[in-house]
């Protein structure tokens, strides 16, 4: 008998709980913007006044590039713990949708960050950017990253508007060959490994100082030989016709 009284009380409690739930229900927009709230806590769409300017912008980057990176974080080819946990149980289809969403977003670029490099270092960087170093089999950065360094659809990211700390960490990751980024040998990691410490330092200072202008270039602008060189990265072209 005691049992049934308890049961009734329970039912009552359960119902009153359910009622409060109904009376104050929240409207959740059925949008991707709402679904990626956990991402935009770090990757805001306006330039971020964060404690450490380490979070890279992702808005407006080529969709294929974002798709590849997200799968890399999920599958342990690129390491950043907070994102690995978020992406752990996401399907490729969902990741592709998220990549497209961020790719289509408009971004307000931060003001250029003066580099203060001496002229000889500026020369060194500009040479790498515009002509590369054939002796070391380094093509000019702008042949792959686009004339205006704003990237090429759909796999090659732009190089402007990225924070210095982030750039330095990426080059470090590739060069150490560690889990940060360098685990899989691809066209970019091979190039990064050939750069000297001085070049990396200067590049990571020079790039954030450039004013951002221009658009991501169309895929046809990329030299077929370079497409060949980056075959690993371009493997899922079918999604981006």
């Amino acid at each position: 008998m005691k049992f049934s009284i308890i049961t009734i009380t329970t039912l009552f409690l359960v119902f009153s709980l359910a009622n409060t739930a109904q009376s104050t229900s929240i409207k959740v927009p059925d949008s991707l913007e709402q679904r990626v709230k956990p991402c935009t806590i770090c990757h805001e769409d306006v330039d971020k006044t964060s404690l450490d300017a380490y979070f890279p912008r992702i808005a407006g980057k080529p969709a294929g590039y974002l798709y590849n990176q997200l799968r890399n974080f999920r599958d342990g080819r690129r390491y950043y713990q907070p994102m690995a946990i978020l992406l752990e149980n996401m399907s490729d289809e969902y990741i592709l949708e998220i990549a497209r969403y961020f790719s289509s977003m408009h971004y307000t670029y931060p003001q250029p960050d003066p580099h203060g490099l001496p002229p000889n270092e500026i020369n060194m960087v500009e040479k790498l950017i515009n002509s590369g170093d054939p002796a070391r089999n380094i093509p000019a950065c702008n042949t792959c990253h686009g004339e205006s360094l704003m990237g090429i659809e759909p796999y090659i990211p732009g190089l402007l508007g990225l924070p210095h700390a982030y750039l330095a960490a990426q080059f470090g990751g590739w060069r150490n060959g560690g889990i940060m980024r360098g685990q899989t040998p691809d066209c970019m990691s091979e190039i990064a490994k050939k750069l000297t410490q001085e070049e990396v330092y200067a590049l990571a200072r020079w790039l954030p100082a450039q004013p951002v202008s221009g658009e991501t270039a169309k895929s046809e602008t990329l030299d077929p030989a370079l497409v060949q060189r980056c075959e690993d990265i371009f493997s899922e072209r079918k999604h981006f016709k």
Binding site: F3, I6, T7, T9, T10, L13, V14, L17, T20, A21, T24, S25, I26, V28, L32, Q34, R35, V36, K37, P38, I41, C42, R71, R74, D75, G76, R77, Q81, P82, A84, I85, L86, L87, E88, N89, M90, S91, E93, Y94, E97
Partner: protein, 424 residues
Amino acid sequence: MKRLFLRFIGSRQTFLFIACSLLLTLLTTNLALADFTEPQSQQGEYLALAGNCKGCHTTLGGKPYAGGRKLQTPFGEFVTPNITPDIETGIGQWSKEDFWQAMHHGKAKDGRYLYPVFPYIEYTKVTRQDSDKIFDYLRSLPPVAQANPPHKIDPPYDNQFLLFLWRTWYFEEGVYKPDSSKSEEWNRGAYLVQGLGHCTACHTSRNVWGASQDGELQGGEIMGTFWYAPSLISPLEAGMGDWPIETVVELLSTGITNHAVTSGPMATIVRESLQHLSAADMRAMAVYLQSIGKKEIDIKKTRKIPPMPEAVRQYLAKGELIYEKHCQDCHGESGQGVSNIYPPLAGNRSVTLTSPLNTIRSVLYGGYPPSTAGNKRPYGMPPYQHIIHDTEIAQVVSYIRNAWGNLGSLVNQFDVDDSRGYEY
């Protein structure tokens, strides 16, 4: 076997037990998949999914079934072997019999005792037919030449003799024995939950030897993972005795339902394994799980709210402010959540578990429920480890464990720090 037998001796059910044994051979055939029109390897693929073999035997982003995945345990680091039919590095030289030895007896081809990280304690319940089908499927895979690094097991656990002793003590070998007093559906569910589904591998309290103390889905902290797998029996934890069958099915096959959500290792099990099971098998599992869940809620225990000292009240008030600022937008001002989108925190058993581990982890790391056919584009929860300090995480966790009629222990910043897993 010994335990099972002892339980029956001297009871009124002795007769039933004998009858049971006689019926056994007949019933075992019913456990196997009803549909024999599919080729054996296709059924094997399905069974391998039910056992989540691929989940463990594939490293992140690696070739399916080629192994290499590292599993951290308090006994050391285990590396899953390659189980593709490669001659050199896989199980290309194994026979059906060798495979059965592994699944059923926990022995490798060379006679070595396998470590129970490979859940053969559960797989021993799998029938010979099903084991053969899984083997045929594995044999049909493209061989992958991939040698994986050896385990790094800490002494003395690397000792085969100790493993032998452990097995004599804890390992009950034997195919699932149907209970003829129950329906065929119930038996199918029990077979899947206890066998291939290996739910007990996580949902159990483990003693120092890593042995399941009760084998009865009592819940426990999964060693080496920093996750607590709640009891599937207790109504205060994740027992589903009071849940409608449809809700159990929904949670386990989509990863989310109106008042609960799967996270961490459980989300992975749903994505890799449970979402692929047929509607009939999911239902069977739900029927079984519902039947083992205890039903009565001990109101006295949940309702005895001790008078709250002023210091505690102040501590929780701080947590409430954090909640309003960071959490309320999604989980609601009275913790009510949004059906199938944001889990409620009020009345959510996961939040008030005796162990605050999972709740602290949710707040530290955030997460998305799994993307499944039934919930393709889940909504997510942000990580707070970079946004608020450990002391504030402790306050907000204490608050949600004691707001809106919830009742749970308070936590402090040391509990928060202790909940950071070492695998990340």
